[in-house]
Amino acid sequence: MALLSKKDANLILDPLADNNPITIQVLGICSALAITAELKASLVMAISVIFVMGVGNVVISLLRNIIPSKIRIIVQLIVVATLVIIVDQVLKAFAYELSKTLAVFVGLIITNCIIMGRFEAFALGNGLWRSFLDGIGNALGYGVILIIVGFFRELLGSGTLFGIPVLGDPIAKTGLYSTGYENNGFMIIPPAALIVVGVIIWVQRSRNRALIEEN
């Protein structure tokens, strides 16, 4: 017997492509853009969100029959805030430099709409295991976009990946730079992230025409 039934596997696979939280559901864009100038920061952010969403969805799913519906938003916020504090403290302890780069954006995971959106749409109405899978799946879908954006922005903007030069040395003019190639400083500034995501949406919807919006 397979580890996951087909229905359960879809919970993880759907958000990776055709139901991606960022490009289709329009959730969680805020933090997705600000920290993607470097691949490393994108990766750490993706892992943090996977942790918060997986655990958070399980907690909300366990509490779903106890929470009075009127105050559920506050309860959800408190659950997420607690998890985010854990992430923040761990980052400060083990990756201090990185936590400086991410700055307030770790805190902003609390108001990341993916998390609230999935709590509302899924964890409040489904069992523990399925909620867990849904959380992980959506966080992975979010992480994938983050990493794609981070990859292109760091590669084109600074010619490095994870801080390691891959295109040669821009000052000594080695590698690709010897042919006259220059880093595109435009990719480093924040608005470039929006344009990269716009292009990702363009590519995705050209490949899958069913996703095209009316207007």
Binding site: C30, I74, T111, I195, N215
Partner: protein, 266 residues
Amino acid sequence: MLEHVELFFKSIFIDNMVFAVFLGMCSYLAVSKKVSTAVGLGAAVIFVLGVTVPLNWLLDQYLLQEGALTWLGEEYASYDLSFLSFILFIATIATMVQLVEIVVEKFSPSLYNSLGIFLPLIAVNCAILGGSLFMQAREIPSLGLAVNYGISSGIGWFLAILAIAAIREKIRYSKVPPPLRGLGITFIITGLMGIGFQSFGGMLTGGDEAAAEEQAVEVPATQQVEATPETYAPEADKTTTNPEDQTTKAAAEAGEAVSYNDLVKS
């Protein structure tokens, strides 16, 4: 006085919530299909930011920072509770939003009808929590400046959502490639607007003479193009925030008055 003016313009244009730090993008994209709804949400954001940033500033100063508990007694002076700031800030915001909703519903049903649906959305708008977190990270020194910061970053967000809503209303008549329709083109336009807003970067940092002059010419022009109906907002707010740097209570009231004006106008 001068620092108020500086902070005001800095948070509207240079550190614009949407274009410089991408806060509140979710509601920015979801609620910007029509200008009228965008104005409603924008006004609500100005109001909530204007209330929650000063409140969280007080929390930060007298409860969370290292040594903030000194007023309780000498033995508490070494306590540092700043790791609790996320949870306290978000609790303040959620409570305030709920409170504002109840008060508005009670005293101004018409305002509630136009604003009501947006208020729950605001609790999870990253711009609100972001405002408080940036206030903490930038170590804003006084309550007056915190009020100013809250309101002016709200105005920045308001301008951004108004501009994109106006563009999206017009873009319906343009021939956009089908895969880019809707979300895709909105992203790219926002990116281009963000690049435009980058040009405000040199506005207050000084720079060399020529660059400063260029900026000074550029600012009013862009403002007119992007936000013609809204130019009253920064001006109205400037006049109210200026005389208030000493009396902090008056500042809070003035802040509310400004956002109520915006609401009524909308």
